[in-house]
């Protein structure tokens, strides 16, 4: 399963991976930007434009116009994530949500509150998936917080299709000449 073979119809898909499948989501963004406008909701402050640009460049020289078709908004709290999804109009192209649960795992928000907000988000994700492909990526909560796992399970259950991905490439910290491909 990768960005090229992921089925993109009008339905809600959830990808779970240890680091929220960021490389795959970026690749998806690049692929979609080639042919039309898309929306990206970044829930975990992960949207690194550079790999997207490199990917687009492999397919076309029209880099600037492709990048202009990616409409990105960042949510830094689960309240923001919730409000953004509620306000999002349907019929405005595919929606990619990267690392949706990051802000819902925030220790300063009570679990019940996170659950309430997530329920609202799921309603809107389902609404939006009626008229466009919606792909959501998520990671499991950190080990010391098992009570937050229910958030991931609720999200997975609401999806038309849910994939669990192996750790493809964890984010690497580049050292001076340290990384071998």
């Amino acid at each position: 399963m990768d960005a090229l073979t992921l089925p993109l119809n009008n339905q809600l898909l959830v990808l779970t991976a240890p680091h929220a499948a960021v490389p795959m989501m970026l690749e998806l963004a690049a692929r979609l930007a080639l042919t039309g406008d898309l929306r990206v909701l970044d829930g975990g402050n992960r949207f690194n434009v550079y790999p997207v640009a490199r990917s687009v460049r492999r397919y076309t020289a029209e880099l600037t116009s492709a990048l202009a078709r990616i409409h990105l908004a960042r949510a830094f709290t689960c309240y923001q994530a919730s409000a953004m999804l509620a306000e999002m109009p349907a019929d405005a192209g595919p929606l990619l949500v990267i690392d949706l649960l990051a802000t819902f795992y925030d220790e300063s928000v009570r679990v019940e509150e996170s659950r309430r907000l997530l329920a609202g988000c799921i309603t809107h994700l389902q609404r939006l998936s009626q008229t466009a492909p919606v792909v959501v990526s998520a990671k499991p909560p950190a080990a010391p917080f098992p009570e937050r796992r229910v958030l991931l399970e609720t999200l997975q259950e609401a999806a038309a299709g849910a994939w669990q991905l192996e750790a493809l490439s964890a984010p690497q910290t580049p050292t001076l000449w340290g990384m071998e491909a």
Binding site: R46, V49, Y50, R54, P174, T175, L176, W177, G178, A181
Partner: protein, 88 residues
Amino acid sequence: MGRTLPSITQAYMQEQAAFARFRRALRRADQLALDDLFAAARQHLSAAAYAAHALPMETFLLSMLLEEHKEVLRLRRELDELRGALNA
């Protein structure tokens, strides 16, 4: 808060790391010369950041070329001075 885009230094290090295999297959002397080129690009990271290029590698390559040219200019000057001294 809010910083999503990797810093220009991080972008630079990623580009450098992408050439690790190429570097490995070079002779030692050539490796050192390549390191000099990358060090040269490092002199102009702030300009690269301001340029806000979607493909920062192009800016880094231009920086390397810039430093090379400065070195050529310096050598030309030195050469002229030496010639002048010889002819005197």
